[in-house]
């Protein structure tokens, strides 16, 4: 190729650098076009093979009168459906995914450094932060699901040779998140706090009174506690990683948080797909049966 005007006009040093960069470059035809072609062929062949071997599912005709048990969303939304079992539907179905997407889109606006750009995990502590983030995310999610599904009680019964019903009554509040609401003697006043009469005095503005009675224990279990955990645990991880000198730069923190997010996403999706059977009960995959999608 003829040297460009820019190249000829530049100083010898710049020219040398440009030439060195050139040496590092390949022509798109044939080098890249060839790779793309092979990838497309391999992919077409394997998809055709897959489609010959496995048929797409088709169940009975849609019937609004017959609700399958369990009814599940498509697999990529089962993470949200899993969240739905543990918290207020508005939180699980709308607020969490919205906040997650906004946070995802905002990553480059938090971490604007050039550290580790253009190479796999190129910063010094990248792999360590990835592993810690992913393990904390996965194990944390699993433990929370086990707790909310009361499976720690089953485990305790297995280990001690007791029956599940032998769990001490005094510790009933530790059975699950919901148990905090049911098995604690909350003062009567807290079960129905008339916000409409005491706090939101819309009647003073000449508007109709709002009928808003808040059940505090339910609010704690369905909204406050899940929010605190979903915000607090990642922050706690960031704090500890920072104190331990494991996450020192913004890129370090981003890697830990993103890996944690991916791990949570995967664990929730897998649990929702393969470990939830009738009545969305937590079961082993062989008792759930083959997922259809």
């Amino acid at each position: 190729m003829v040297a460009t005007a820019q190249e000829t006009a530049a100083s010898p040093a710049v020219r040398a650098r440009a030439r060195r960069q050139r040496d590092e470059e390949l022509l798109v035809w044939p080098d890249l076009v060839f790779v793309e072609f092979i990838a497309a062929v391999v992919f077409t062949l394997s998809l055709t093979a897959l489609s010959i071997l496995i048929n797409a599912p088709l169940l009975d005709r849609a019937n609004a009168g017959v609700t399958p048990n369990p009814s599940k969303a498509p697999w990529y939304f089962l993470n949200l459906q899993e969240l739905l079992l543990h918290m207020h539907p508005a939180l699980a179905g709308v607020i969490v995914p919205t906040v997650a997407l906004i946070a995802l889109g905002a990553i480059p606006y938090f971490d604007r450094s050039h550290d580790g750009q253009g190479e796999w995990l190129a910063t010094p502590r990248a792999k360590l932060n990835l592993i810690i983030g992913a393990v904390v995310g996965a194990v944390g999610t699993l433990l929370l699901i086990i707790w909310d599904g009361s499976k720690h009680v089953v485990l305790w019964a297995r280990l001690t040779g007791n029956d599940v019903s032998d769990w001490p009554t005094k510790l009933n509040w530790l059975r699950s998140a919901r148990a905090l609401q049911i098995h604690i003697n909350w003062p009567e006043e807290l079960l129905s706090i008339p916000l409409g009469e005491k706090v939101l005095r819309t009647d003073l503005l000449g508007l109709p009174r709002v009928d808003l009675n808040v059940n505090l224990p339910a609010l704690i279990v369905e909204q406050a506690l899940p929010t605190a955990l979903m915000v607090g645990l990642p922050l706690l991880m960031a704090f500890i990683l920072h104190r331990q000198g494991i996450a020192r730069t913004k890129r370090d923190h981003m890697i830990a948080q993103f890996s944690g997010f991916i791990a949570v996403f995967v664990v929730l999706t897998v649990i929702g797909t393969a470990f939830r059977g009738q009545g969305m009960e937590l079961l082993w995959p062989q008792d759930v049966g083959m997922p259809v999608s």
Binding site: M1, R22, E24, E25, L26, L27, V28, W29, P30, L32, V33, V35, E36, A39, A40, F43, T44, L47, T48, I54, N55, A56, P57, L58, D60, R61, A62, N63, A64, T67, P68, S71, K72, A73, P74, Y76, F77, L80, Q81, P89, A90, A92, G93, V94, G105, P108, D111, D115, G116, Q117, G118, E119, W120, A122, A126, R251, M254, I255, F258, S293
Partner: protein, 251 residues
């Protein structure tokens, strides 16, 4: 290749090659022969309408499979494959509550290669969701969202949402129990949002329950609305890759 230069001793292969590629019709389509000099290879990439999405040269690390694993390219490839199989499926499918399920059944039993088309469309759709998620992870772990590529990452997030919506709207179309209840569960989640949830759900499915209105809305979004949006965002995505100086490199 001028035949006059070698008047004698031409093999059969040469003659067949000439007949195939040096005739008037072929050369009216492809103006030059196989580009076997660097200059012609760059020209072909720069002037061919399909190839010119690429730059003419590319850094050697970006050609290594392990840099991108071709994940973005495969997402795009799946999008194209889904368009082709989707158009074929549209020949047979009518989005009405009376016909949708029967049409899918007929497609599987009466239409030659119908079941293959349906299977390919479905597995490609699942594949695209997986590829896009993996592509996002590769972009993240190679630090390719960093300046000046911040906005292309945001475009990517929009593409991720569009991909999920494309898959979700297609999920209802077979009108079987799987489709109906998955969409019922999914749209109920939308309905649970504070204040705006119910109106949004109503607008999405055109009623209080999933029925004929939901089917036609999902169909329209699935075959034209969302693919059009996705194509526009993909055009921006690819354009930005070029404007941002190709794939990210260490600085």
């Amino acid at each position: 290749m001028a035949t006059t230069e070698r008047p004698e001793g031409r093999s059969l292969g040469d003659r067949v090659y000439d007949m195939l590629f040096h005739n008037y019709v072929w050369q009216s389509i492809f103006r030059s022969g196989y580009p076997n000099t660097p200059r012609n290879q760059m020209l072909v990439v720069a002037t061919n309408v399909f190839l010119h999405l690429h730059p003419t040269r590319i850094h050697r690390t970006h050609v290594k499979i392990t840099h991108t694993y071709c994940l973005g390219g495969l997402s795009f490839f799946l999008f194209l494959g889904l368009t082709i199989t989707g158009v074929l499926l549209m020949f047979y499918y009518v989005p009405s509550v009376e016909r949708a399920y029967e049409d899918i059944l007929a497609l599987e039993t009466d239409v030659r290669f119908g079941i293959l088309m349906r299977n390919m469309h479905r597995w490609m759709a699942h594949g695209m969701v997986i590829m896009v998620l993996l592509h996002m992870m590769r972009v993240f772990y190679t630090g390719a969202y960093k300046p000046p590529r911040e906005f292309n990452w945001v475009v990517g997030v929009v593409l991720l949402v569009l991909t999920l919506l494309l898959s979700f709207t297609g999920y209802l179309l077979p009108w079987d129990q799987l489709a109906f209840w998955a969409i019922t569960v999914g749209t109920n989640m939308v309905g649970s949002a504070p204040i705006l949830g119910e109106p949004n759900r109503f607008a999405l499915i055109g009623g209080f329950v999933v029925g004929p209105n939901a089917l036609i809305r999902f169909y329209t979004l699935h075959v034209i609305g969302l693919p059009l949006l996705a194509a526009i965002f993909m055009a921006v995505h690819f354009w930005r890759i070029r404007r941002d100086g190709g794939l990210a490199r260490p600085l």
